[in-house]
Symmetry: C2
Subunit: 257 residues, 2 copies
């Protein structure tokens, strides 16, 4: 087992690069932090490149780390690569998902996220999409990076459970429509109540930016646009809450066929 | 119009006290920050004690601030009382909601929040309860303070639109049941799918702590406990997303009677 003591070690410099989107793109790797997320990662060992943990933490005895490369690190190194205020001292370096043609070929339910910038919202929607049994999440341009540490924390490990790719949503909509998947936008104007929509054998739903909603350009290419009728005085819902209501309704409708 | 230049002015010390729960309890006042929230507050002028703004900001010309006490402040004072990294330089000092017997007498739909600690979750649930037309939100023991600045920011002004009180949930449940309101807990064990529940003319729903859910003690006093069946591999939903799905379903059922 390797041991890295100094934060000046060149390996530490490599790991710190994974905290930036550019560094993740160059290497195809990302850094996960904390017991809960590393435990989830261990269920998907072929996605793990390496586990790092601080010399002064206890590893739960039920963890199976066979065939995983382990490096122990000093507290100094742990602090250097942590993005939390009080680090738990445990990390996994994992491989990013790659787009594969079959992801879009096989799925029946899709969530498309248009320019959502808050990492907590994106992470919560990934967790919700997982719970709703969505097959593929597509992050459009302007949406915060999946491997941002706050996105991963809010997603609570759900990014291991379902396929997530980044792609132009214009292109994604065309591809989906070509294979016969109806695409629904969410909008307050010229839209139908979501309760009136019935799903046959597949659907894709687009949710949009916190302030501006789904872009007009995309709304014009959808099969139908839907909205959630509100009872009270608030003008809108949080995007992750809206996604939850819509995804569960659409899946209920899909599964009941 | 008063002008306060120095952050050492005794008034500034009073305002800073409103950033703590204790200070808010002693005075019955709280501090709101930012253009969006102050604009919302102006719709409810009798809740405003005073508006403070920095001498170098522009007030939107459509704002009607008649009959509102205004104090201008220096940038130094603005920084001293701000809880954001880059302050917008505008604040309102408002009066906290007070519990009134009639809030519980008149309502038909209630959201009870048991020990939810993340301010973003509590704020988002208040916004969601507003959108769903809920009559009263009751914050139980262990739930983050309504007037915490992060709660107010996530609630986006919805705390002006509906009644919100803090109260022991044991007591709230008894009072609700006495007046014939069925109380629903949320739980994964010995619970019924929420889709099988129909609502007659009123309901109260309890959601619980992020890690532990609704406390066992409360679950034993409800009329019925419900859960959201999940399709995927995630074990649970974010509490605000779950609240959204349940509140809209229950309101749909209530309104269709």
């Amino acid at each position: 087992m390797d041991y890295i003591q100094s934060a000046k070690n060149p390996k530490v410099k490599q790991w710190k690069k994974l905290l930036t989107k550019k560094g993740r793109e160059q290497t195809g790797l990302y850094l996960l932090e904390g017991f809960h997320l590393v435990e989830e990662a261990l269920q998907f060992k072929n996605e793990i490149e390496e586990i790092l943990y601080s010399e002064n933490i206890m590893i739960p005895s039920h963890w199976n780390m066979d065939h995983v490369k382990i490096t122990t690190i000093s507290e100094e190194v742990s602090k250097a690569i942590s993005e939390t205020e009080s680090s738990q001292g445990i990390f996994a370096i994992c491989k990013k998902h790659q787009y594969e043609e079959k992801m879009m070929e096989k799925g029946k339910s899709f969530l498309l996220i248009d320019a959502v910038q808050d990492p907590g919202n994106v992470g919560t929607m990934i967790r919700t999409a997982d719970a709703a049994g969505i097959d593929l999440v597509i992050l459009g341009d302007g949406t915060v990076d999946l491997y941002n540490s706050k996105v991963l924390r809010s997603a609570q490990g759900s990014h291991f459970h379902l396929s997530i790719i980044s792609m132009s949503l214009q292109k994604a909509i065309s591809l989906l429509q070509e294979k016969g998947v109806p695409v629904f936008g969410t909008s307050l104007q010229s839209a139908e109540s979501y309760k009136k929509v019935t799903i046959d054998d597949s659907f894709a739903m687009i949710v949009g930016n916190e302030g501006n909603g789904v872009s007009e350009e995309l709304l014009q290419t959808t099969n139908q646009n839907v909205f959630i009728p509100l009872y009270g005085r608030s003008e809108s819902l949080n995007v992750a809450v809206a996604a939850g209501i819509l995804l569960f309704h659409f899946q209920d409708s899909l599964k009941s066929n």
